[in-house]
């Protein structure tokens, strides 16, 4: 249900870009999806394939998902570590004073158009 909501917003953002750039057909959409963005990629692709048929400008657009690894910064020892493996606790100094640097984003990197 959440994935479908994001698809609706993605489609609207793409519609606006198509109008701005006077694009008739988008053939590929490349998204950068953070590892901890909460997006279930399989479900996301299913939602896209269902939805794109409803819009002439999007119907032949393949969705390409590029995963962005999540990285956390430890403010105690000033090191970074992979978030998915270690979570909120720093594996070097066991501090909990940690911040997510990247990995929660979902960005439209580029589109391929005719």
């Amino acid at each position: 249900m959440h994935e479908m909501g994001i698809i609706l917003h993605l489609a609207k953002t793409l519609d606006e870009a198509a109008e701005r750039e006077q694009i008739k057909k988008i053939t590929r959409v490349t998204l950068e999806v953070g590892e901890v963005s909460g997006i279930v990629t399989d479900y996301f692709s299913d939602c896209w394939n269902y939805f794109r048929k409803k819009r002439p400008v999007l119907e032949s657009a393949e969705l390409e998902l590029v995963t962005i690894p999540a990285v956390t910064y430890c403010s105690s020892c000033k090191r970074t570590y992979p978030t998915v493996q270690y979570g909120r606790t720093c594996p070097y100094c066991e501090s909990g004073e940690t911040w997510l640097l990247k990995g929660s984003e979902c960005i439209i990197k580029e589109i391929e158009v005719e």
């Binding site: 917003h9 953002t13 960005i107 439209i108 990197k109």
Partner: protein
């Protein structure tokens, strides 16, 4: 064939719509509050008491967002405030477009305060900007003090955290200090109130904040 670099977030179009809506509401002097919490945290009960206390001081309307039914809108109407029910058609959150349609449904009457009671959910509503001027979240005592650890984005996006149902605290192991410490770690600027809608405890502080927020929005 050509490739266009966009580098926009997927919700860029919603973010733009939300920014436009916020600007229009600022011009009108209407503060829109996005009220978020789990189902059953006490959103409607908090609003009933708040409207009862403040209805002679400001013009208040409420937009109830739910997947289905109008039970909450009916409760709000009994307080004398104008209420509309927005259905999200199965979606787990309100976005700026849905919020604009709900505001249109309120009609032309001017309001000082409009509260959007978002879908009961601690995850999705935090991800979508509705165009609100302030975000307020509730966490009820029975839900537990560990929720900032489990749903960090909601606590990061909220300007105010209201801990509700403090009257039942003796029956639960809720540690308010731990909860506030965890919330402040995510969001150092968050304003916290602890209230009980049953006894009225803490409502004066929350309502003082609200009166000031409505006045500040008009400046």
């Amino acid at each position: 064939m050509r490739i266009i670099e966009l580098k926009e977030t997927v919700t860029a179009s919603n973010d733009r719509d939300a920014e436009t809506l916020r600007g229009e509401l600022k011009q009108k002097g209407t503060l829109l509050i996005n009220l978020m919490a789990s189902p059953g945290a006490g959103k409607t009960t908090l609003l009933e008491r708040t409207i009862h206390d403040l209805r002679d001081r400001m013009r208040i309307a409420v937009m109830e967002a739910d997947v289905d039914s109008d039970v909450d809108a009916v409760r709000i109407e009994r307080t004398g405030a104008k209420a509309v029910q927005a259905h999200t058609d199965g979606m787990c959150h309100m976005d700026a477009g849905m919020t604009r349609r709900a505001l249109d449904a309120l009609g032309e009457d001017p309001f000082d305060l409009v509260v959007l009671e978002n879908v009961g959910n601690l995850i999705c509503p935090a991800e979508f900007d509705t165009g609100a001027g302030r975000c307020v979240m509730l966490l009820s005592v029975p839900e537990g003090d560990d929720k900032p650890l489990k749903y960090p984005l909601m606590f990061t996006k909220s300007d105010v955290l209201i801990i509700t149902k403090t009257d039942v605290a003796p029956y639960f192991d809720f540690d308010p200090d731990a909860c506030i410490r965890r919330a402040r770690k995510l969001n150092p600027d968050i304003t916290v109130f602890t209230v009980s809608a049953k006894t009225g405890d803490g409502f004066e502080e929350w309502e003082d904040w609200l009166i000031k927020a409505v006045a500040d929005w008009k400046n």
